[in-house]
Symmetry: C2
């Protein structure tokens, strides 16, 4: 079975770990979000790709869900001693190696997809991990900063990098717009459209529908390829009981005018793209609403408390795919 | 008193620490060798500049003489896990920060001299440290590699980076030639010629006469400026009793046809450049030979066993400068 998964960071990575356990022999291609990539200290950092790679490769810091286990932060402390920031982005001494190797390979002319493959040679995630694009896409968020007493004055509207919004500000101000800068000109990375065309099923894990899956879909050609693939496209709601399972998805959903509920996210994807949608059992009451929108829907437990729970979710998604296929 | 010092790495740095103690109020400008600079992991590494900066700034690993104290090597271990080397060059987690900041600033368009000044803002070495040039100069060493059983066959002649010769091979094969690649086209960094022109005395510490002081002198304009400065130029022999005080200076002296003795090094600099030369007391017998070459010479203890010993050497050098001036 050939499965294509569109993945963001933590939610996508944990779902993938469950999927691998559920169908160990499946041929899994992960199309990773790169809209949250950021250049820090002259290095190219790809947080979502790395979270998938580290999680599936057994290197992840389980507790925080990102970064490497057994990590230290001495280099970052030294950078701070030089007055070089940002201090709000956590890069550990071990993690730095990934960014240094990546930056060196990019500088030598390799595309990000080839670099990602080389990095995965070490981590052996057990899936084929492809960035959505080799082109530079950077998600920016329009915000109105609160009055800081600075010369900029109150109510200054600015576009800031997604990481600054997410990590530094912790989504503490409303996102007025979310723009994947560069996406319109981006081309899918080599292998992306081929994997979609050859897939038996396509899954949207409970990743952020705006800044993770939404950004991948914003790369011209990817949404169309998925819609045209003629295979079941199944999503899992990242919203449970009107709140994000983790993270702050509600903040960016508001920016695109989507309410923070499981059915609203399904409708946002739309029946032209999505064939099936899993909501949590607490949201069983909304199954009818989703099916009325032309999307087959089931209510199952969606809390990824451990790998077994994630595996059960993956099996439910594949079961729903079979139902869709049988129609 | 304005003092200009041409410095390599460990020997130069330890001498400078003594000089600062000997004349705390002196205005000291250090012209640092950059011929041993190397690009590693996409980062610009300047070993001699950093050794001076760390030593005078109190951060040096005293035992080994280079790198930072209280250092760890986790990033390097991760790079090795990616199969990315070289493993023979020791870059610690703290040290990496210096190279990252430097590389980032160079990438932003700042010349190495401005970058070095910015790095020194943190370390406060108490001297003005200027790289000999902002241009790229890289010392290469011609060697004949021993038969490694490889396809290259026995006796393959190659030019390798100085660091590869010095650190990886530990000068285990003869240096057939030492070439400061790029030196001929290099220009002295801003401030270098001005500092020389305004100096009251110019010192050559017991640094390597070929790959440290010699490389600085290979930048067009520097040798001439020193010769024309009209102030005492005093050197300290890095050779004591026919052997280098530390390092492997004899290996590269052979490459330029200079015997590894204190008087031979003085003659190599020559009376057109050098006014005074300090040899160790064990080499007192060669004072006459040096003076016969037109260079005033004294025999004093030249073993830098501690900062006080280095300070005494610095005082002897300044005393010899006064003698020269009085002539």
């Amino acid at each position: 079975m050939r499965i294509v998964v569109l993945a963001g960071g933590i939610g996508g990575a944990r779902f993938l770990r469950g999927l691998k356990r559920a169908v160990p022999d499946a041929d899994i291609t992960v199309i990773g979000n790169t809209g949250d990539d950021i250049h820090l200290f002259g290095l190219k950092v790809c947080p979502d790709l790395d979270t998938v790679m580290y999680t599936l490769g057994g290197g992840i810091n389980e507790e925080q869900g990102w970064g490497l286990t057994d990590e230290t932060f001495r280099l970052k402390e030294e950078l701070a001693a030089y007055g070089v920031g940002p201090e709000w982005f956590g890069l550990g001494d071990r993690d730095f190696a990934t960014h240094i190797v990546r930056t060196q390979m990019l500088g030598a002319g390799y595309p990000l997809s080839a670099v990602t493959e080389a990095l995965c040679d070490r981590w052996k995630p057990g899936v084929r991990l492809i960035p959505m694009t080799d082109d530079r896409v950077e998600t920016h968020v329009a915000v109105t900063l609160p009055d800081s007493g600075s010369a900029a004055g109150p109510g200054e509207r600015r576009a800031i990098h997604f990481q600054e919004y997410w990590v530094r500000l912790r989504a503490s101000v409303p996102a007025e717009a979310v723009v994947p800068v560069g996406a319109e000109q981006a081309k899918p990375a080599p292998g992306v459209l081929e994997a979609i065309a050859e897939a038996d099923v396509i899954l949207f894990p409970p990743s952020n529908p705006v800044v993770s899956v939404g950004t991948i879909l914003a790369v011209p050609g990817i949404r169309e390829a998925i819609a045209d693939a003629g295979v079941p496209v199944i999503g899992l709601s990242p919203i449970v009981g009107d709140a994000p399972v983790r993270g702050m998805a509600d903040k960016v959903l508001a920016a695109v005018g989507v309410e923070s509920t499981a059915p609203a996210v399904a409708e946002h994807y739309g029946s032209g793209l999505l064939d099936g949608w899993l909501v949590d059992t607490v949201d069983a009451g909304c199954v009818e609403r989703v099916e009325a929108a032309g999307i087959r829907c089931r209510a199952v437990p969606l809390m990824m408390t451990d790998v077994d729970a994630a595996a059960r979710m993956a099996r439910e998604a594949l079961t729903l795919a079979e139902e869709v296929r049988a129609v």
